[in-house]
Structure formats: C-alpha cells, structure tokens
C-alpha cells in the first residue's frame, strides 16, 4: 500500500486518539474505562501505521491537535464525538481495504468492524453502509421506539466538518 494511504490511516487514528483525550473526561465514570480502552486501541493502530510508513522510508505527518467538529459539553456530546471518530475510521478502512490483499486486507476489514462496533456501543444506531454518512447531521436513522442501546442520536448542531488539524 502506498505511503499516502498509510498516512490516511495514521492521521485518522491520531485524530481519534486526540478526540478520546477530549471526550473521555466528559463521559460518566462508568463509561470512562471503555473510552480509555478505545483510546489505547487507536493509539496502537496509529503507531502501527506510523511504523508501516517508516518501513517504507516515509514519515507520518501527525499534527497532534485537531479542530473538533462540534463542542463537547457533556456526556451526550462525548458519546457522539466518539461515534463520529469511529465512523470516520470505518470509512478510511473500508475505502482503503481493496488496496490491500490477503491477510492485510483482512486486517483492514476487521479494523473497520471493530470501529463500527464501537460506534454502535456509543449509541449510534446501526447503518446499512457504515462510514458513508455524516453522523453529526443524520438525524433520522431508525425506529422511533426510543429504546436503543444508549439513545442520544439526532444531535442538534454539528456543521459536518471533518476533524481537521
């Protein structure tokens, strides 16, 4: 896979690490360990992507700080930001997976699955084609019975901006 593609993975994972750093303190105490576990997983994935880049003679560009797509004022925003980051990574891994073959492609698909499962765990309703919609603007995604895993979908606000350096 080309250095540009590994750079996308490294940058996406780095953005998630940053976002979890912001959002974990806003989570209820009972959910913080789950947030920390996710942050550790993204940190490892970022480091692995950086190592792939380095093995090919490249160097990852990681700004380390990012502009968030919306303000994170409480637990609902925190879960929404977590789902947002996971979705971005689902899109990155799914889009890039055909560039890989064999075990490397499997690793990308499994990474997408793990991110997708975490997004649902943070209260996002399942989607038919994960990663293809912007969770900050999509407000009509499921049955109105209101007893989903964590609720909290249908955010107001959110300008749809990606996480940017």
């Amino acid at each position: 896979m080309s250095p540009e593609l590994w750079q996308q993975v490294a940058a996406g994972e780095d953005a998630a690490v940053y976002a979890y750093g912001v959002l974990v303190p806003r989570l209820p105490a009972a959910e913080r360990n789950r947030g920390i576990d996710a942050q550790v997983a993204h940190s490892r994935a970022r480091d692995a992507a950086v190592a792939e880049l380095a093995a090919g003679g490249g160097e990852a560009v990681l700004p380390g700080a990012f502009e968030l797509p919306f303000a994170v004022d409480g637990a609902t925003d925190a879960r929404r930001l977590a789902a947002y980051c996971e979705n971005r990574l689902v899109n990155i891994y799914c889009t890039l997976s055909p560039e890989q073959t064999g075990p490397d492609r499997r690793q990308f698909v499994e990474a997408a699955r793990e991110c997708g499962v975490r997004a649902v765990g943070w209260g996002q309703l399942p989607e038919a084609f994960p990663g293809t919609t912007d969770p900050t603007t999509d407000t009509d995604r499921g049955p109105a019975d209101g007893d989903g895993p964590a609720g909290g979908d249908g955010p107001a606000g959110g300008d749809g901006a990606m996480i940017q350096p």
């Binding site: 997976s97 499997r106 990308f108 649902v120 049955p143 019975d145 895993p149």
Partner: protein, 151 residues
C-alpha cells in the same frame, strides 16, 4: 450476471429454513460461466435474503417488530447494492420455520459479519471488496446492537 435476483430469491424462499440454519443452499443452480466474484456475490445475496426472512419472521411474532423491520431494511439495502440496477425482485417472503429470537438473530449477524469479511478478502473487484467490507461492518454493528438493546 448470469442469475437474476428474482431467480435467486425464489430459490432462496424455497430453502430459507436450511439457509437460515447455516447450510449452503445446495439446490441453487451453479452456472459454469460464473466468475469467482459472481459466486461470492450470489453467496452473500443468499445469506442476506436469509437474514431478511429471519427478521421478517421475528417481526411478525414479537413486540419488537419496528426494530426488526429496521434491521431487515438494512439487509434489503445490502441485497440491492449487490445487484445494482436489478429492480426485478423485492425482498423474499417470510419463510423461516420458526421465528428466531434476539439471541439467534445476533448469532446470525455475527456469523454473517465473519462470512462477509472472508468474502471481502476473496473479492477480486475493488468495488465489491469495499462493499463487502461495509456490509461486514454493518453486520458486526447489528450484532453489537442486538447484544446491547434490551439488555
């Protein structure tokens, strides 16, 4: 594409119970002209049709009909994406022998996610590979949703 979705769904409707139980539908016609990707596409479509049938059966029997219809609708979208442009068929009818419960549905989704992962790895066409990666992710998400919802 040597086999229409209507043909497929009619065949699947007749063997939905077996397919839902995890067996491959051996009675389906296998055409010599099929490429490996054609076989993958057909196999995934069979599994999607079985999932739709399972959810429809569950929706008819439980108080969680809206939720099951919501998830069934996503599998309908998967089926449509596998055969874009083919509007000759609608979703298969509900033919499962007994309506599955939440745990059985979760197991079906988890198995489907693993099978879609294998299919994504095997796919030769890049567009198909990406579609299968997204379907694998969707079905892993469905399984997680079924684990969390109502627990």
């Amino acid at each position: 594409m040597p086999i229409s979705r209507r043909t497929l769904l009619l065949a699947v409707a007749g063997s939905a119970a077996a397919t839902a139980a995890g067996c491959s539908a051996e009675s389906l016609p296998v055409l010599d002209t099929e490429s490996p990707d054609d076989v993958t596409r057909r196999s995934v479509a069979e599994s999607e049709a079985a999932l739709i049938a399972a959810y429809r059966a569950a929706a008819a029997e439980t108080a969680e009909g809206a939720r099951w219809e919501f998830l069934a609708g996503q599998h309908v979208q998967h089926l449509a994406a596998l055969y874009p442009g083919d509007t000759s068929a609608t979703a298969s009818p509900s033919t499962a022998a007994a309506p599955p419960g939440r745990k059985a549905l979760r197991r079906m989704e988890a198995r489907a996610a693993r099978q879609r992962t294998d299919a994504a790895v095997a796919a030769q066409d890049a567009e198909l590979a990406q579609l299968l990666a997204r379907i694998a992710t969707a079905e892993a998400g469905h399984a997680a949703y079924l684990s969390a919802a109502g627990s």
